[in-house]
Symmetry: C2
Amino acid sequence: MRQNIFRQFLEERGQRLTKERNAVLQKAFSCKGHFDPESLYMEMRKKGVKASRASVYRTLNLLYECGLVEKVRQTEHGTIYEHSLGGQHHDHMICLECGEIIEFYSERLEKLQEEICQERNFKGTNHTLEIRGYCRHCQTKITVPEGDGSHG
Amino acid sequence: MRQNIFRQFLEERGQRLTKERNAVLQKAFSCKGHFDPESLYMEMRKKGVKASRASVYRTLNLLYECGLVEKVRQTEHGTIYEHSLGGQHHDHMICLECGEIIEFYSERLEKLQEEICQERNFKGTNHTLEIRGYCRHCQTKITVPEGDGSHG
DNA sequence: ATAAATGCAAATCGTTTGCAACGGA
DNA sequence: TCCGTTGCAAACGATTTGCATTTAT
C-alpha cells in the first residue's frame, strides 16, 4: 500500500509521515488523472483538510523522490503530476485545440524504444512521449488553414 | 533562408524585422544544439550585440510561433530551445547522471506513432519523446546506490 | 508622421525557503 | 525532550508587461 511505501521511504531518511503529508498523499491518489499542486491545495482547503501550500509542494517533492508520483509535463504555468501506482505506464496525446489529454499505451512502442536504447547503448529507465495534435472532436471543428487531403 | 522566413512571418503580421530580432535569430541559429534564453542573452552581451533580455524573450517567442525554433523541454529552471531548420526532427535521450542530451531519430518510431494516432483517431502534428536513463559512459560508472530488486 | 519596437524596471506566478512555533517518536 | 515539520510570508528566478522613448517605413 502506498502509505507504507511512503512511510518506509521517509523512515529511511529519518523523516516522519505526518498527517499533512498523508493528506497530500491521499489527495494525490484520489485524483483520477493529472493534477497540479495548486488545485490539489485548493481542493484540500475546500474539504477542510489543513495543509499549507508549502507543505503541498514539499510533500509532492517527496512523493516524486520516492516514485509515487510522476511529473507528466512542465508547462509554462507549472508542473503537472500524476500518481504512478496501479496505473500502467502510459503516454499522452494532447489536443492543441481543446487541451484534452488522452492517455494511451502501446506495447509495440515500448518495445521499440527498448530496441532503440539497446542500439545506442543507452540504459533507459523511463520516458515521456507527448504527441500533440487534434483529438477526434476537434479535427472536424478545425477550419483547416491550408489545403489538405493528403498529408505526409 | 531563415531570415526570409522570419521576415515574411513578421510582415504578414505587420511586424518588422529589426536588428535586435535579427540578432536573436542569428544567435539562435549559431547554436549547435540546445540553448536557453539567458545564455543566449549573455552571449549576445559578451559579443557586444545590443538587445535587451526582454527583446530576447520576445523574439524567441516569435521564432517559436513561426516554427523556427522549438521548445526542447521545460525544466524547473527554464525553457530549453533548439532551432529547427536543416536539422531533421529528432528525439532525445537524457542521461540522469551527467545530464548529456543525446539526439536520435528512428524512422520506425515515427511510423509507429503515426499508426498509433490513426488507431485512436488522433491527428498528430508533432511530438516530443524523452527517454531518461544512463548514457554509455555513466552506465559503467554507476555504483548502483541501493539497487534492490523492484523498479518501475 | 505613425505605428511598432526597444529597454528598463516593476509585476507575475509557480515554487522554494528562513524562521519561530508546534508536535510526534 | 528532541528533531523534524508546519505555516507564513518573504525570497526566488524565469518570463512578461507597462510605459516612455526610439526607430523604421
